[in-house]
């Protein structure tokens, strides 16, 4: 049976220590830009072969930085039911008439693109999260938007918001665990330790109100303490840790841009048709063997 001590460290969006490979050593601004540009491009690409190409490049990049494929695709786990649902919906609501072949290009391609897009997106986020630490995220956001500061954009404040937000993630976890313990000790809300995620979710409901109140109280204390330590809006800030831009930052940026550009170009070449043809052939031959 699991106890409360087993739940520690469950939330792992960004790491406390970046991966040791060259990707982990990159400038935070490059990492932040990579994440935003990558997610944006992958969301817009409408080519299965292009997405497959990015996914392959992601696996190579992960391998070169010492990350295993399961670790890279770990963010995919929570969205797996959604992914299966999307694939099933596409399969069940196909456009071809009963007289046509079982799987036509028109049926299979949107299904393939949708699944690949989700997998690639999660892979890209997985690689980014493994290479970025929480302080780097806030620094990266600030570095990325700092050119806009001259137009009045609050880049520093945005970075600070990210810092404070990340500070609250472990607090929320500790606070909810404390509330769960307190209520369990008085016979309430059983099921916190259940392996069943739905039962755990149901058990967590009564902790929501005190958790919300506790978070607001903590936020108020944090805001007061920041003001007491001299925080003023629109005041330029300096950081203790600075990150110089190095050659490897430029090389990785160029490589990333080239991969994304190649994937976009594939959208305009006829690579998807060949990919789908090969897939249909292999499915047909498999069905023939099965029969």
């Amino acid at each position: 049976m699991r106890d409360f001590g087993s739940f520690g460290g469950g939330f792992d969006l960004f790491r406390r220590q970046a991966s040791s490979g060259s990707l982990g050593q990159l400038h935070p601004g490059v990492k932040a830009a990579g994440l935003i540009v990558g997610v944006g491009t992958i969301s817009l690409i409408n080519s299965a072969s292009g997405l497959l190409f990015i996914l392959c490049c992601l696996l190579v990049a992960a391998g070169s930085t010492g990350l295993s494929a399961p670790r890279l695709l770990r963010p995919l786990l929570p969205v797996t039911p959604f992914l299966v649902l999307v694939v099933l919906l596409h399969g069940l609501t196909r456009s071809s008439s009963p007289g046509e072949a079982l799987l036509s290009r028109g049926d299979i391609l949107p299904m393939l693109i949708m699944s690949l897009r989700i997998i690639t997106l999660m892979g890209w986020i997985g690689l980014s999260s493994a290479a970025v630490t929480t302080p780097e995220v806030s620094y990266g956001i600030e570095a990325l938007f700092s050119p806009l500061e001259r137009f009045g954009f609050p880049a520093g404040e945005l970075g600070l918001i990210a810092t404070v937000t990340f500070r609250f993630i472990p607090f929320l976890r500790e606070e909810s665990e404390r509330l769960a313990k307190a209520q369990t000790a008085r016979g309430g809300s059983l099921g916190f330790r259940s392996a069943n995620p739905f039962r755990r979710m149901k058990a967590a409901l009564p902790t929501m109100v005190p958790l919300f109140i506790g978070t607001l109280r903590r936020a108020e204390v944090l805001a007061e303490s920041m003001h007491l330590r001299g925080y003023r809006e629109k005041q330029s800030r300096i950081r203790l840790h600075r990150y110089p831009v190095k050659l490897q930052d430029l090389l990785w940026s160029a490589a990333g841009a080239a991969v994304l550009a190649a994937a976009v170009c594939m959208q305009y070449a006829d690579t998807d048709a060949r990919l789908v043809r090969e897939l249909i052939n292999s499915i047909s031959s498999f069905r023939g063997v099965a029969v």
């Binding site: 049976m1 409360f4 001590g5 087993s6 000790a185 016979g187």
Partner: protein, 291 residues
């Protein structure tokens, strides 16, 4: 008669072993402790010595990783232990976590105190009587406080209300994690008077504290250091005649330090008598020894 608490070779570590940390550090190791009946046992040690973890294991919130932990004839270390058994255990062995006032989550004091017994099926007049008894045992007038909002209470009143919520379960073993932390000396003294009353009524009380003067009120004290139990003895024996508290990074009460210093200086204190820890009695002993 079976002991109330029997721990043999108890071990605990937080988290699960993984590739990066094959063996998580042991927070508790090789703990042997026996409590035979109703007594007041102080759990002392520096921060991070394992006091809170031990209390949470005894409360059934954490489950031992190794060894034996038999509490009121239930072996908590049994890997096949069921949630139902733990639930029954938590009804008899109740914990008040650190900062118990944060356990309050109902709007009105009476409702919050009733939360525990109501979870165990007590209702109607029996529930009202339980709440009244528990509140008055903690020095809160039932008529004055039952309809008071929990957020309108002072710090000391909140602490009493939270402890009343724990007492309302009528536990056989009461576990208090730093119950007097943050209270002013008169409130802490009053709280300990009430804890001593509970012991007189046959409740086994284990409390952790950093206040060595409070430890002198206990029947025995268990000294923890870096997850290991160094000694279990009477507070007088530990503080007046041994160096164990210092080994655990603790500072004995002033009376004990004065007594030991006088002994070092050759003042022959009456050793046949148990030294009194309160300054007045100690002063009398000193005068007696010097004249």
């Amino acid at each position: 008669m079976n002991p109330v608490i029997s721990l043999r070779g108890l071990e605990y570590s937080y988290g699960k072993p993984d590739k990066h940390l094959p063996e998580p550090p042991k927070v508790l190791a090789g703990i042997d402790l026996q409590v035979d009946g109703a007594e007041l046992l102080a759990i002392i040690g520096a921060t991070g010595s394992g006091k809170t973890t031990l209390l949470q294991i005894l409360a059934g919130l954490l489950l031992p990783k190794k060894g034996e932990a038999r509490i009121l004839d239930l072996d908590l270390a049994n890997p096949k232990i069921r949630e139902k058994e733990l639930d029954a255990h938590r009804r008899r062995t109740v914990i008040a976590l650190q900062r118990p006032e944060e356990m309050l989550f109902r709007t009105y004091v009476g409702d919050d105190v009733a939360y525990g017994p109501a979870n165990y099926g007590i209702s109607g007049r029996a529930l009202a009587l339980r709440v009244k008894e528990a509140m008055e045992a903690m020095g809160l007038s039932y008529t004055l406080f039952k309809d008071r909002r929990t957020d309108s209470l002072s710090g000391g009143e909140m602490r009493k209300a939270a402890l009343a919520g724990v007492l309302a379960l009528k536990p056989e073993i009461l576990l208090l994690d730093e119950p007097s932390a943050g209270l002013d000396p008169p409130s802490a003294e009053e709280l300990f008077r009430r804890i001593q009353d509970l012991r007189e009524q046959g409740v086994t009380v284990l409390f952790s504290t950093h206040d060595m003067e409070q430890v002198m009120l206990a029947d025995r004290a268990a000294v923890f250091h870096e997850g290991r139990l160094l000694a279990v003895d009477t507070p007088e024996q530990l503080f007046f005649y041994s160096q164990i508290p210092e080994q655990a990074g603790l500072l004995p009460p002033e009376a004990a330090r004065i007594y030991r210093q006088l002994k070092n200086l050759g003042v022959d204190m009456p050793l046949n008598k148990t030294p009194s820890w309160d300054p007045e009695s100690l002063a009398n002993s000193i005068v007696e020894a010097l004249t």
